[in-house]
Amino acid sequence: MMEERAEAVHAERRAAALAMGGDRKLKKRAAAGALNARERVDLLFDSGSFTESGLFATSPVDADKDTTPADGKVTGTGDIDGRRAAVIAYDFTVKGASSSSVSNKKMQHMKDLATRRGMPLIYLAESTGVRMPDVMGGTGMGQGNDRSRFLRCRESPWASGVFGYSFGSAAWHTVSSDFAVFRKGSVMAVSSPGLVSRATGQEVDGQDLGGWRIHSEITGFADAVADTDEQAIELIRRFLSYLPAHNGEAPPSAPITEGSEDRLHELRTLVPQSRTQVYDVRKVIEVVADNGSVFPIKARYGKSLVTALTRIGGQTVGVIANNPMFKGGAIDADACDKATSFLVLCDSYNIPILFLVDQPGFLIGLEAERDKVAGKVINWMNALSLVTVPKITVMMRKNYGQAFVNMGGAFTADATAAWWSAEISFMDPRSAVSVVYGIQPESDPEEYERRLAEMARGSTAYDIARVYGVQDVIDPVDTRSFVLAALRDNHLARTGGVGEHLLSTWPTSY
C-alpha cells in the first residue's frame, strides 16, 4: 500500500514538474512557432539520451513553489553524436525563466560538471533576467555566491542558442560562450527595452536595442544566425562536431568526404591575376577544405575577413582568410576583433590554424584610428604570438605591410608557402611611388611608370623564398597537399595534439 501511494505521489509530482508553465502558455508558444524548453532539449540530444538533474527543484519562496516547475531551468546531460554534454535550457513559461537562488545552483552545478568532467555545456537561452522581487534589498543581494560564476577558462566548449528575449544571465552566458547562434527575431540585451525606457527615458525598440541583426552585423556576438529553433539547435550540434569535448584532447577526426580534392584545379582561376580585382575567398576555402565541411563563424560581421571551421583531410582546421569581396579585403577594426576571437577559439581547443592571405593592408583613416585599430592590431599580434597550435600560412596574392605579419607572415607560422603569383611588399607599389617620389600617374606618366617598376621589383614569391621568408613557392592547385603535409609535420605529437592553450583565459568577447 505504502509503495503504491509513493508511486502515485511520485507520478503526480513528475507530471506537475514536466507540465512547465501550463498548457495555455505552451500552446501559445507552439502557435507562434517557438519550441518549448523541453522540446529544445530533446532536439539537442540524441534520442532518449537525456538525463535530467533537478526536475523537482522549485522556487525557494513558499508562495511560488507550485508555480515554478524545475524552477524555470531544465538542466541535465545527454549525448550529442554519442558524446556526453550538459545543458541549461531556460523555460520561459515559468516566470519568464528568471533566475532564483535555486535555479542558479542548478546552473552552477552544470557548469562545474562540464568543467570538471570535461564535456561541452550548451545554453538554450530565453530569459527575462533575475527574478523579481526575490532579489530586492540587502537580503536578496547578500545571498549571492558568485565568486566563480562568471569565471571562464575554456576547459570545455560552451555553445549558446538565443531564442526570443534574452536578458540578464541569458545574455551573460551568451557572451561567455565559444559559439552563439541567434534565432531570427531574437533579442539579447543587458536589460529589457521596457526597463531601458523607464530608467533612461529613451524609448527603444527591442530589435534596435539588441536584435539578432545588431548582434550578427554590429556587435559580432552572434557567430551564426538561424531561421528557426530547429535550425539553431542543429547549428549548435554541428559546431560541437568540430571541437573536442574538452581542452585536454584533440578535436575528433571525421572521414574525408567524397568529392574532396575534385575541384583543386579551380584554384588556378578562382583568384584573378590582377591584384586590383576582387573575388569571393569563400569559394577558395570550399575547394581547399573537405567537401561540404566549411562552417562559417561570424559570417555577417567584419566581412573583409572570413573565419571558418573546416575539415582538411578529416581533421578540424580553423581558417582565417581575407575576403577582397568586402572592403577590398582591407582589414578594419571589426575584422581585427574577429581574427583575435577566432585565434582564441582555435588555441583553446587544439585546432590548427590556416591563413589564406590576399590583403591590401589594414583599413586606414579617421574612422580606423577612432575605432582603436592600433590596439586591435597588436591584440591580434599578441594572441598570434601566444598560439601554440600548429599555424600554416598560404600567401595567395598580394600581401602588404603589418597585416602581412598578422596574417601569419614573418615566421609567425610554423609552415609557410606562397603561390607562384604572390606579391609581397611593405605597401602597394603604387602607393609607394606617391609616398617616396610624390608623383601621380597623371602628373608625369613616364616617370611614374619607371618608379613603379622600381618599387615593384623584388616583390615576387621567389624573392621572399630567396631569404627563406616562405618555405616553398607552390602552384595554387597544390595548396591542399601543402596544408596536409604541414599538418603532419606540425602535429603536436608529444602531447597527442593538445596545445598549451595560453589564450584560454582571454576575454570572451571583443
Binding site: V278, P324, G328, G329, P360
Partner: protein, 73 residues
Amino acid sequence: MAETIQAEMNANVWKILVAPGDSVEEECPLMILESMKMEIPVLAESEGFVVALHVAEGDRVSPGQPLVDLSTN
C-alpha cells in the same frame, strides 16, 4: 520597397555601371569604388530597379553615404 545602398568605406567612385530605370539581379554590380588600391564592386542586395543614383564618377564618398536607391519587390 525602396532600399538605399550606402558606402561602406572611404573611396572614390571609379565606374558607374547602371542608370535609373535599369533592372538588376541580386548580387549585380552597380558601381565600382576605388579604395586601398582595390576595385571594389557595390552589389545589389536583392533584385529590383534602380530608382536614383546619388553619386557620379570621380566623387569621393565616405562610410554611410547613400550611393544608389533600389526599389525591391
